[in-house]
């Protein structure tokens, strides 16, 4: 999955470069009116944003949406290094705040929230039923590292429950955690609700007790100042994500509405 997203990462900037070059040299470029809108989105948004990108292309003839999916902090680092993105959708607010502070993005708008869920392999071999079970010494627990957003959220959950969790591995991303659970290497892991939904029958999800206190808010913003036409197009994509239709699509993939966040 990482390999694939890398390919897409390259494809995005390349496509834009090609499009820009064509725009510079071509006299007939205007006839086709081909525009590529590059959307940088957190990996967890893959399913929802692929559908929204298709929808956007249907509504705007001659526009191609290139999705570049990776970890939010990777994407933010690329934008800081000058990657040609038009829209950025982050899985957490601190990452977006860094780009706002650098003056690289427009005003962000929150468009979704996500909560954690316990994921266990099919059949639940270790018999995990509650959050407390994760602290049992014979349960091979895998978490995200505290340095990444899902790990920070996991720490919050454990602290709120007064639990001292001792994971056998602190993974780089939520995808890595899910991978270890799907493979049966880990007895349990803390991942996003949307990841459990996307994994289908490969894992079972167990809700955390009480109100969801570890909520990640997803902000979206236009990137840079691409000139009137592109900026307008980027804004229209943001509008689509924030629209009722966009919200419905996101809900279909397990995301909650931004109002749910405190």
């Amino acid at each position: 999955m990482r390999v694939r997203s890398r390919g897409r990462l390259l494809a995005g900037p390349l496509a834009v470069t090609v499009a820009v070059l064509a725009g510079c040299s071509g006299t007939d470029a205007r006839d086709g009116d081909d525009t590529t809108l590059t959307v940088f989105a957190a990996a967890s948004l893959q399913g929802a944003f692929e559908r929204l990108a298709d929808r956007f292309e249907d509504e705007h003839e001659g526009v191609t949406v290139e999705l570049s999916l990776a970890g939010s902090s990777d994407l933010a680092a690329q934008i800081q290094q000058g990657a040609p993105a038009d829209v950025f959708a982050s899985a957490d607010t601190p990452t977006m705040a860094r780009l706002v502070a650098d003056g690289l993005v427009g005003t962000p708008a929150d468009f979704a929230t996500n909560t954690l869920q316990i994921a266990v392999p099919p059949g639940n071999p270790a018999g995990v039923e509650t959050l407390d079970d994760l602290a049992a010494p014979d349960v091979a627990l895998v978490l995200c590292a505290p340095q990444v957003p899902c790990g920070a959220a996991s720490t919050k959950v454990a602290d709120a429950a007064g639990l001292d969790l001792a994971p056998v591995s602190e993974e780089q991303s939520v995808t890595d955690v899910l991978g270890k659970v799907v493979a049966g290497e880990a007895d349990a892991g803390l991942v996003y609700v949307t990841d459990v939904a996307a994994a289908g029958d490969d894992v079972e999800g167990i809700d955390l007790p009480g109100p969801p206190d570890a909520v990640n808010t997803y902000p979206i913003a236009t990137v840079g100042d691409d000139g009137d036409a592109r900026a307008d197009l980027a804004q229209r994509f943001v509008d689509l994500v924030l629209s009722d239709e966009g919200q419905e699509t996101l809900a279909g993939f397990g995301f909650a509405a931004p109002d749910a966040s405190p």
Binding site: R2, V3, G71, S73, D74, A77, A140, V142, A145, Q147, V148, P167, V168, S169, E170, E171, Q172, D176, G179, K180, A183, G184, E185
Partner: protein, 268 residues
């Protein structure tokens, strides 16, 4: 670089220097660019933090262990591939080289399905009381998997170049096979053996994909220096750059030390 000054460039067409220089720059420039990004005032504290020291120590230990495994398994493999002829040996040679062309992540997935808890050998190992998952052993397995072909390939090439004439002579003088191997064959391919060992150690030291897929990431247990660098990038890019430079220094030191003990003319 190590060529004697007297014959520098002798007999080389001049145009060859241009692409050679471009190639050299291509390798060196990114390292220089990285060095310019290092926050030198805080460098020492960044590379001596508890997590950095744990990662470096783990990297050195596991790389040494996997290089040892590579030697134990790889020398006989290279001997068989270089000296034996039987049907299917060409296929065997290709298969041994597969980890070279496999993306390391794929290697990690393959190892997971072999040694993982639900893998091919996982249950047998578990019955035997061996738990490979999320252990330092898993890191060594991942490193050995990716590094082994480097040793086998280098040594096999050296064995073929050396030929078997001296072995035959030694055997005709009454030396037993093990003696021939120890006293004649291996000393003859000494430089190749050193090169192969250095290459596999360097590959093990840089191993990332198979480790993170197969072994996981926990400080002091499975989080080697490359994994620590990748993780630090999330929150502290300065630390990531500092650690990257540390990894480069360690790799250069290893190569320099091993090259020093060898004749200057031997090909690496």
């Amino acid at each position: 670089m190590t060529a004697p000054a007297g014959d520098a460039g002798a007999g080389l067409p001049r145009w060859a220097f241009v692409p050679a220089a471009v190639g050299g720059l291509f390798v060196v420039l990114p390292l220089v660019a990285m060095a310019t990004r290092v926050d030198w005032s805080g460098y020492w504290s960044l590379v001596t933090s508890a997590s950095a020291r744990a990662a470096l120590a783990l990297s050195l230990q596991t790389s040494a262990a996997s290089t040892a495994v590579c030697l134990v398994l790889g020398i006989p493999m290279a001997l068989v591939l270089a000296r034996c002829r039987f049907p299917g040996i060409d296929l065997l040679r290709s298969l041994v080289m597969v980890p070279l062309v496999l993306p390391p992540v794929v290697g990690g997935v393959a190892l997971l399905y072999t040694f993982g808890r639900r893998g091919l050998l996982g249950e047998t190992l578990e019955v035997a009381g061996l738990q490979v998952a999320f252990s330092t052993t898993a890191v060594v397995l991942a490193q050995t998997f990716v590094a082994l072909p480097f040793l086998v390939m280098t040594l096999e090439g050296a064995l073929r170049t050396a030929g078997s004439r001296y072995d035959v002579v030694a055997a005709s003088l009454g030396a037993r096979p093990t003696t021939v191997l120890r006293r004649v064959t291996l000393p003859l391919v000494g430089p190749g053996l050193v090169s192969g060992t250095v290459l596999s150690f360097a590959r093990a030291l840089g191993e990332f994909g198979a480790t993170i897929t197969f072994a996981g990431s926990l400080e002091g247990v499975t989080r080697t220096l490359p994994l620590e660098i990748y993780l630090q990038r999330e929150t502290d890019p300065d630390a990531a750059v500092a650690l990257s430079l540390l990894l480069v220094v360690v790799a250069v030191l290893v190569i320099a030390v091993t090259r020093q003990g060898r004749p200057a003319r031997s090909p690496l």
